[in-house]
Amino acid sequence: MIETINIVLIVFIIVAGTSALFVVELISATFLLSCFSFFMAVLWAVLQAPDVSFTEAMVGAGASTIFLLLALFGSRHTVKPFRWNWTATAALLVTVALGALFIWGSWDLPAFGSDVSAPNAYLSPYYLDNAYHDTKTPNSVTAVVVDYRGFDTLIEATVIFTAGVACLLIMKADQ
């Protein structure tokens, strides 16, 4: 049953992602990307990662859609019909080659959910065993994100802050 849901969701994700490339209107593409994020969120929930699912649903499907729409409304853009030429052929060849390289590389990765892969063998069990004892936090994701890996989260917050700074600087340059 879960397998079927996974396959259906992955098909939806692929359809939404590829059709976002091919629709002519950019507003439609924005909403297709929003659909893409929403299906990703459902897929994360099916894969039992509710924290990631929550974030994807709000940031991917919500906030980024709003920003893309505002950017579209606030800017001048024209859409040219696509013409097949030698640049497009070269780009297609490079993309296919790169994709093939990634798929070839993925053969060496451990199987999905394998119990002998490095993170599953010792890292996750350590967090799951000790998170409650160390931090009195039943949700071990919060304990890992903010305590065990607090430095990561500090820098992530700085990255988001930098996005705001960049926006302010662009506005100042415009005035």
Binding site: F73, T135, N139, T142, T153, A163, G164
Partner: protein
């Protein structure tokens, strides 16, 4: 420049939605230790509530927001997190080791519990206010969209 929607139904319903979203954001924030959620998600929810307020607010309500103040609050958020990390240096421990902050609680695990809560508060400030700053700049500075066709 974004203007409020013409329909009074849309405006009133949006106004009704703002308060529940904020309550839900607080729930997500304080239950980050027990259920999915935490500072980041709560921050995005608070940001969304502010964005809705900016979308349907009257002229007076909208002008009471200023990019300067929103940016200040974002800076305060990152300051909370970084100062919390630096405080544990003062208590002769590693950066961001909440277990050393003896003023928070008796037990070391409890100190980490409250340390996580304070750090999440900083993250919530940064995320919510950055989202509002970006929205404010994209939506309300008329020059950006002045010459669109």
């Amino acid at each position: 420049m974004i203007k409020a929607h013409d329909s009074i139904i849309v405006q009133k319903i949006t106004r009704l939605l703002i308060a529940p979203i904020q309550i839900f954001a607080l729930y997500v924030f304080f239950h980050g230790h027990y259920s999915p959620g935490g500072g980041f998600q709560a921050g995005v929810l608070i940001g969304a509530a502010f964005i809705l307020q900016l979308l349907v607010g009257t002229h007076q309500e909208v002008t009471s927001f200023s990019v300067r103040n929103e940016f200040r609050l974002a800076t305060i958020g990152i300051g909370i997190y970084a100062i919390l990390g630096a405080l544990s240096l003062l208590f002769q421990s590693e950066f961001l080791n909440y277990g050393a902050l003896s003023f928070l609680a008796e037990e070391e695990a409890r100190r980490r519990y409250y340390g996580i809560l304070i750090a999440e508060l900083g993250v919530a400030f940064v995320v919510s206010m950055t989202i509002v700053v970006i929205f404010h700049i994209l939506a309300f500075f008329p020059k950006a969209g002045a010459d669109r066709p």
